[in-house]
């Protein structure tokens, strides 16, 4: 299948170098009007949900040529900071600064304006929302700056959470895969929760990185997670103690100052996404670059040139053939750099050839 119509022979040569090519990336038409906070691909189809600070959640459908068309959208009370699909890819949940989470059912509201149902409520901005399945039922989990993580059953409209977990600090990031839920909070705390026992915190650790946690992302096989910090560093952390020997961290998203040789500019790691098939992963940062890595070989598979602005969110589609990244201002340089000229766009990068494949023969070190 040649998604995006890319011929495989022509691209083969380009993929032999470590520097990747973004010239074939397709830009999504009608992007959000403000910074993009999250991207999420449906597991059922090539539907990309995009949440934005402009209070809207947009859903784009991507065809085989990589062209995205706006399919639907819904609006929330305030900036939307996170969105997530249910496991079967039919429901979409989004949450944000209006302290609530809304869920839409795409099957039920085909072809009509989406009407969200409120499924969660917090005391402060909900930074992250994810969906998971408990005993075969879709459940919503929200993490908020009010220092709690709450579980919600969407069928329950009473407004009471199915469970609350007190977090050490404001929730900054969350990710889930299978039965693993990882919550990253301010002050570098990380909580690991086994979702088969959602009420218990399996483990609370401080981040292996010395600086503020920006993002956590679970491995494809759910045996661990990656942590990204504001100090251009990414850590690979396994959940079980027997695997601690495999933990490591590495530097990324740093630039040498053009004028001074010994000055390194260090950017924050904004997004980490694991490839659903190969188990490799991407990091993207405020420096506007993204890279593919192989954690087992401890190798960078591919680096890509700067895309014109900070990358705030990334996502692989369900079969790992599309890598979507959102370029928009992430506030990393403060107030002064938030100009109207700053690009706000979503790009779709076709994952061709071996870009995300772990290196053959590279043994585990």
């Amino acid at each position: 299948m040649s998604l995006f119509g890319g011929g495989s022979s022509a691209t083969q040569a380009a993929t032999s170098s470590t520097q990747g090519d973004t010239s074939k990336d397709v830009e999504v038409a009608n992007p959000p009007e403000d910074s993009i906070s999250d991207l999420s691909f449906s597991s059922a189809a090539n539907l990309l949900a995009v949440s934005s600070w402009d209070k809207k959640v947009r859903i784009y459908e991507i065809n085989n040529n990589g062209e995205a068309t706006g399919k639907n959208y819904f609006e929330m009370g305030d900036a939307v900071l996170s969105c997530a699909w249910s496991k079967d890819g039919t429901k979409l949940v989004a949450a944000g600064a209006d302290r609530s989470a809304m869920m839409v059912d795409l099957k039920a509201s085909q072809g009509v304006q989406l009407q969200g149902a409120k499924v969660a409520q917090h005391e402060d901005t909900i930074r992250c929302v994810k969906m998971w399945q408990f005993n075969g039922n879709d459940m919503v989990v929200t993490g908020s700056w009010d220092k709690t993580v709450k579980y919600w059953d969407p069928r329950d409209s009473s407004g009471t959470p199915a469970g609350i977990i007190q977090c050490p600090n404001r929730v900054y990031t969350m990710d889930t895969r299978d039965n693993l839920l990882v919550v990253g909070t301010a002050e570098r705390q990380i909580q690991v929760i086994n979702l088969s026992k959602p009420q218990d915190v399996y483990k609370t650790i401080s981040s292996p990185l010395k600086w503020q946690t920006r993002v956590v992302s679970c491995f494809t096989d759910a045996t661990g997670f990656a942590v990204g910090s504001i100090e251009g560093r990414c850590a690979i952390q396994y959940v079980e103690d027997k695997d601690v020997g495999l933990n490591f961290s590495f530097k990324c998203h740093r630039q040498q100052d053009t004028s001074q040789r010994d000055v390194a500019k260090v950017y924050s790691v904004n997004a980490i996404s694991f490839h659903p098939v190969h188990g490799t992963f991407s990091t993207a940062g405020s420096d506007g670059t993204f890279h593919f890595w192989d954690k087992d070989a401890k190798h960078r598979l591919k680096g890509y040139p700067e895309v014109g602005g900070s990358i705030t969110a990334t996502a692989f589609n369900n079969n790992g053939q599309i890598f979507a990244y959102a370029v928009s201002y992430d506030w990393s340089k403060g107030y002064a750099f938030n100009t109207p000229q700053y690009p706000t766009k979503i790009k779709l990068h076709p994952v061709i050839g071996d870009e995300c494949k772990p290196r053959p023969g590279s043994k585990k070190r």
Partner: protein, 482 residues
């Protein structure tokens, strides 16, 4: 040689390091430089083949891929030309070498300065130079004149010792009269023995008894023997002390070997940077020759270092020290006692790995950028309660104003940061260093986005040369797979 490596390379070491013409990086070893060049600059991007020179790559590209190579990859803008044939350190034009040396020299002194600032605080109590930038002015000269420091220390010790001895100063021949082996050590220490004036003098008055006294003082004395033949270059112009016991106790039968020794191969005497390095080999030969007859002694291999360090004088003075000269003991802190200025600075490895300055683009460790954004007026959330509407609006306006001030902070922080850079980089070093006990293992280089191929270089820091080369080769294999 002294076991302890200096934590910071001196200027000459830095200038001697092989470096890459194309990217100005420097390397531990010429081999690593060459493999770096092959991997970074002379690698064919089409097929991954690594050529030896830019010219070779040009020909390869031309013949194999029918392409013309115009620039060397990954090179500095003004160095990417193909016209100069570079291989390792060969072929670099003289003026470029001069330029490089100048840059290294400048960098070296800048580093010294910066280090004195960075380390000024922790050792504020030392010698009274205050912490902070103010201290640096005092400290820099100290760092530079290690030799002087040591010389003065030695002078001082010698003077003190001489006083203790009752005025036996500045004369090599005055001291031989002095008594017991243990005491004799004290004035000279190992250090002064460098300047022991004459071997001939020793012959003149050889006391008959060798065995017993020698056995007692053997360790401390033994290393000195090989040096006595030295014609005493007036290195310091301070005290000359010919270890009397050595001569006094040397029985006639042992003098001959010495004499022969001194004539055939006087050990190369090195006096550099205050550390006096006795040649281990000649030393051990000499000492084993002499020691075996009288009684059994600990392995002579450990002997050489001990007397060599000026600051060890104290250790040498105590009789205890003379009796426990085992290799392990030689490693003890006393042996490593170097002027505090040198000691307090961070290790070279860290300093090498991380750039001197690290500037975080987003500096607020306490608050996420999203939180700052969310506090902006235009994102301020107004709870949807009819009653509170008015309140809410005014609220948000206030928050907005406050937050635009807050929002301006990061930029201010960044300015602060440039000033604080030294401190920051230190803390970052700590963060990435191994001193912090944590399960995670840092692998900055293997995955560092700048160069996968440079694994060898950094690993080389911790491994023996051979291993480093092996690693380099391994890396080469991996790059081939690309």
């Amino acid at each position: 040689m002294g076991k302890k490596k200096r934590t910071h390379p001196d200027l000459q070491d830095k200038l001697d390091r092989p470096w890459c013409f194309y990217c100005e990086r420097d390397f531990d070893d010429l081999k690593i430089l060459i493999s770096h060049q092959k991997a970074k600059h002379f690698k064919c991007e089409r097929c991954g083949r690594r050529l030896n020179t830019a010219g070779g790559l040009q020909v390869h590209m031309n013949q194999v891929h029918k392409e013309t190579l115009t620039v060397v990859e990954n090179a500095l803008p003004h160095r990417h030309g193909l016209e100069i044939e570079i291989f390792g350190m060969e072929g670099i034009p003289d003026e470029v070498v001069a330029q490089h040396n100048q840059r290294v020299t400048q960098q070296h002194f800048a580093d010294l300065h910066e280090r004195s600032i960075a380390t000024g605080n922790p050792i504020a109590g030392y010698g009274g130079f205050g912490g902070g930038a103010g201290g640096s002015g005092h400290k820099k000269p100290k760092l530079e004149s290690k030799e002087d420091l040591k010389k003065r220390l030695a002078e001082h010790k010698a003077r003190k010792a001489a006083e203790k001895e009752g005025g036996a100063t500045s004369s090599g021949n005055a001291t031989p009269l002095d008594g017991t082996p243990g005491v004799v050590q004290s004035p000279g220490g190992g250090f002064q023995s460098v300047g022991s004036p004459s071997f001939g003098g020793a012959h003149i008055s050889p006391p008959p008894a060798y065995g017993h006294p020698y056995g007692q003082s053997a360790y401390s004395q033994a290393p000195q023997h090989p040096y006595q033949p030295q014609p005493a270059p007036l290195l310091h112009g301070t005290t000359y002390y010919s270890p009397p016991v050595t001569h006094a106790t040397a029985s006639p039968q042992y003098q001959n070997p010495y004499q022969g020794y001194s004539m055939t191969s006087p050990p190369p005497l090195q006096y550099r940077g205050g550390a006096y390095h006795p040649p281990p080999h000649s030393m051990s030969t000499a000492s084993s020759d002499m020691h075996q007859p009288p009684n059994t002694l600990p392995p002579p291999a450990g002997l050489p270092q001990r007397p060599s360090f000026a600051p060890d004088v104290n250790a040498e003075q105590s009789p205890v020290a003379t009796s426990i000269h085992e290799p392990a003991q030689n490693e003890d802190p006393a042996a490593e006692t170097t002027p505090a200025a040198e000691k307090a600075v961070p290790t070279k490895k860290k300093y090498k790995k991380d750039p001197a300055f690290i500037r975080l683009v987003y500096t607020d460790n306490e608050m996420s950028p999203e939180e700052k954004m969310a506090k902006l007026a235009r994102y301020a959330f107004v709870p949807d309660h009819a009653k509170e509407t008015v309140l809410g609006v005014s609220n948000s306006a206030v928050t907005g104003a406050v937050n635009s001030i807050l929002a301006a902070e990061p930029t201010a922080d960044m300015v602060d940061n440039t000033i604080d850079d030294a401190g920051l980089s230190t803390s970052l070093n700590e963060a990435s260093g191994k001193t912090v006990p944590e399960p995670i293992e840092e692998v900055p280089t293997t995955m560092a986005d700048e160069a996968m191929n440079d694994t060898g270089t950094v690993t080389a820091d911790t491994l023996v040369d051979k291993n480093a080369i092996a690693t380099a080769e391994k890396t080469r294999d991996e790059t081939m797979e690309e």
